[in-house]
């Protein structure tokens, strides 16, 4: 085992629920996950399993109807859930933890030029800004010292070049809609890396892109974060993308993690029945994809015990009763299942 010091983020027993018309939806129900320094952790699961909710919980931007946040989110040793709101807003989100969202169209302000959006990021979140520079009203009116402004601007141009935006300095005078989808995602990556964060949360950052552009963006993101030693939480529903970019993979099912392993081990020795079925549902030449069967459960009244049991061919009585504890398949490969699958998936 690695020393706990190597963990940048430790999510422990996190619970988040939402008030809905039909009752309280237990969207994250005891989630555990760690991210080490410099590693890309993949969070994989089907639509509605809670990927975006976990991403937003870490960033401290859950929607207004979210309730009952319990558990802990230890980031660099401190619990984000118990940190004063102001400190999270000022020193953590956008500064030490940044965000690359799924939809780059929605996350730019369409009315402002790219340059002014980059400048805004740097004004408040640049690593040159003293930790205790003014906050609140005082901070709002405080000066943006000229020397820092110049250095920040130079960094921003440099970052645009790094993400291969053609004619970076001219790009600053353009509006978001003047860029293609792939370029907007490059700009998003640039904005996320400018503050030199420790952790980047990338929520399905390539789902809206074409395959060739996706390959270019994944290649770029991987190179940049590895060069800088930045950790990434990379959510995706696409196992191929996870294979491309992640060091480790966590699978989530209906708001709970079920398996976690280093990437190669994950694909060679998937052990949770759900993971195995997910892999079998991928189209591959010479093999019909196999359906999982059954339906993803509702979260207001989810199945007791292992949430996968109504769809699981291996389920026995115990599976209906209690959520399986975490066990280890091997040193770095964790699992929550009473009846792990021993055989490997046919390649």
């Amino acid at each position: 085992m690695l020393a706990p010091d190597d963990n940048l983020l430790e999510v422990e027993n996190l619970r988040v629920s939402f008030g809905t018309e039909r009752g309280v939806a237990k969207v994250l129900d005891g989630v555990n996950l760690t991210i080490r320094r410099g590693e890309i952790m993949g969070l994989v699961g089907e639509s509605g399993c809670g990927k975006t909710t976990l991403a937003r919980a870490i960033l401290g931007i859950l929607p207004a109807n979210a309730r009952h946040e319990t558990g802990s989110l230890r980031f660099g040793g401190e619990d984000l859930l118990r940190m004063p709101r102001r400190r999270v807003d000022d020193q953590i989100r956008g500064r030490r933890i940044t965000f690359i969202p799924q939809d780059p169209f929605a996350s730019f302000n369409p009315l402002f030029r790219i340059g002014s959006q980059a400048r805004e990021v740097m004004k408040w979140k640049s690593p040159r800004r003293p930790e205790h520079a003014g906050r609140g009203l005082f901070g709002f009116f405080s000066r943006y010292p000229r020397a820092r402004r110049k250095a920040d601007a130079a960094d921003a141009v440099e970052m645009m070049r790094t993400v291969q935006i053609p004619r970076a300095d001219e790009a600053f005078d353009k509006l978001p809609h003047e860029f293609s989808g792939g370029q907007r995602q490059r700009l998003m990556i640039a904005l996320a890396l400018m503050p030199q964060p420790d952790l980047v949360i990338a929520d399905e950052p390539t789902t809206a892109l074409d395959v060739t552009i996706q390959a270019q963006i994944l290649k770029l993101l991987k190179r940049l974060v590895k060069e800088r030693g930045v950790s990434v939480l990379f959510t995706t529903h696409d196992l191929g993308t996870a294979y491309e970019i992640c060091d480790r993979i966590t699978v989530m099912y209906a708001g709970q993690e079920v398996e976690m392993a280093p990437v190669d081990d994950f694909f060679q020795r998937p052990s949770h029945p759900y993971t195995v079925r997910l892999l079998e549902s991928l189209p591959k030449p010479g093999r019909e994809p196999r359906e999982i069967g059954g339906e993803i459960p509702g979260l207001v009244d989810p199945p007791a015990g292992c949430r996968f049991h109504p769809r699981c061919a291996h389920a026995t009585d115990i599976c209906h009763m209690k959520r399986p504890a975490t066990t280890s398949v091997s040193a770095a490969h964790d699992l929550r299942c009473y009846h792990p699958v021993g055989a490997t998936v046919p390649a």
């Binding site: 089907e46 639509s47 293609s180 989808g181 792939g182 370029q183 074409d210 395959v211 060739t212 552009i213 996706q214 390959a215 270019q216 994944l218 290649k219 991987k222 529903h237 696409d238 196992l239 191929g240 993308t241 294979y243 491309e244 970019i245 694909f267 060679q268 079925r277 997910l278 549902s281 991928l282 189209p283 591959k284 030449p285 019909e288 994809p289 196999r290 359906e291 999982i292 339906e295 993803i296 390649a347």
Partner: protein, 322 residues
């Protein structure tokens, strides 16, 4: 050699005007720029290519949702692109388009029952009682429980919405169905179910599919032949396995090289294509792929390569191919 085609597209073109801020026409996007191909009865022809290359425009032009700027469509032996409104409507039931976004194609105020009954009222002479039976059969054929008849689209999952969309189309006994991105936005497990359904329906109803998708692994599984489009043109067309094993056009080669290969070498280590597609309203001279092409030579800026046969069933539009 082959059976008479069920569909023949001949030099189809479709131009959209580009206007400046004052509404003055400054040019045109050639969304379809001379697209020709044939589809044999019972065949599934895949159409792949990047966003904006004209896949949906092609699908919509074939079924008459979009008018053409030029070219001809022969469907079941009949030239249909110049038919009048009423004659064209007579063809419509046999040639159907399945929408890219199933949520959008279903009326949010209609129950599943109403959505399925409407095409039967418009296009058939069936009595009310016969329609009820027909609707029940359709629901069973697409694998939805009868209890779903009274649900509204927002109460259905993405996969279920897609099933309703299909049931609506099958109601009219089509001969050819254009499936536009039929699995996009679906989860892996749902996708497997929906693909299986397409296969079963093809058998049961002797359907011919035009299968539009940007997911190459799905296309490989579902299609007999594949046409690759780039900026309004078909740049390569071949039987599926030939195309995947021995692609001849550099764009097809890049497209295939971009697919993650679980267990194999990582695309992030091997992928070399740079740049993005040019503005479709301002195409480069010569070959439209040359601005990204890793193999481009001087001649590529001079000559616009036509789609030319390399073998009887394999054609590519590249000066260097073959």
């Amino acid at each position: 050699m082959r059976e008479a085609p069920i569909l023949k597209a001949d030099r189809l073109s479709r131009h959209f005007p580009v206007r400046n801020a004052f509404g003055i026409r400054t040019g045109a996007v050639r969304a379809l720029d001379g697209v020709s191909f044939e589809v044999a009865p019972g065949e599934t022809l895949g159409i792949v290519g990047e966003s904006g290359c004209g896949k949906s425009t092609l699908g919509k032009a074939l079924v008459g949702i979009h008018p053409l700027s030029g070219g001809a469509i022969v469907f079941e032996g009949e030239e249909i692109s110049r038919l009048s409104g009423r004659e064209r409507r007579a063809v419509a039931p046999r040639l159907q388009y399945c929408h890219q976004d199933p949520g959008n194609s279903l009326d949010p105020r209609w129950t599943v029952r109403r959505s399925l009954e409407e095409p039967l009222i418009v296009h058939t002479e069936l009595e009310a009682a016969e329609r009820v039976i027909r609707i029940r059969d359709l629901l069973r054929q697409v694998g939805l429980p009868q209890t779903h008849l009274d649900l509204y689209p927002h109460e259905l999952s993405g996969g279920q919405q897609r099933r309703v969309g299909l049931a609506r189309i099958l109601a009219l006994h089509p001969r050819l169905v254009v499936l536009d991105e039929p699995t996009s936005g679906l989860d892996m497990s749902v996708q497997a179910t929906v693909l299986k359904l397409f296969g079963e329906l093809r058998q049961a109803f002797a359907l011919t599919y035009l299968f539009i998708s940007h997911d190459l692994s799905v296309v490989r599984m579902m299609c007999d032949r594949v046409a690759v489009m780039y900026l309004g043109r078909i740049v390569e067309i071949a039987p599926t396995e030939t195309l995947f094993r021995a692609p001849q056009h550099p764009y097809t080669q890049s497209l295939l090289a971009a697919i993650p290969d679980i267990g194999g070498r990582r695309v992030t280590d091997t992928f070399t294509l740079e740049g993005e597609p040019p503005d479709p309203a301002r195409l480069p001279s010569g070959c439209r792929f040359r601005t990204r092409c890793p193999r481009a030579v001087a001649a590529c800026a001079e000559t616009d390569p036509a789609l030319r046969p390399l073998r009887p069933d394999h054609a590519a539009a590249c000066l260097l191919a073959g």
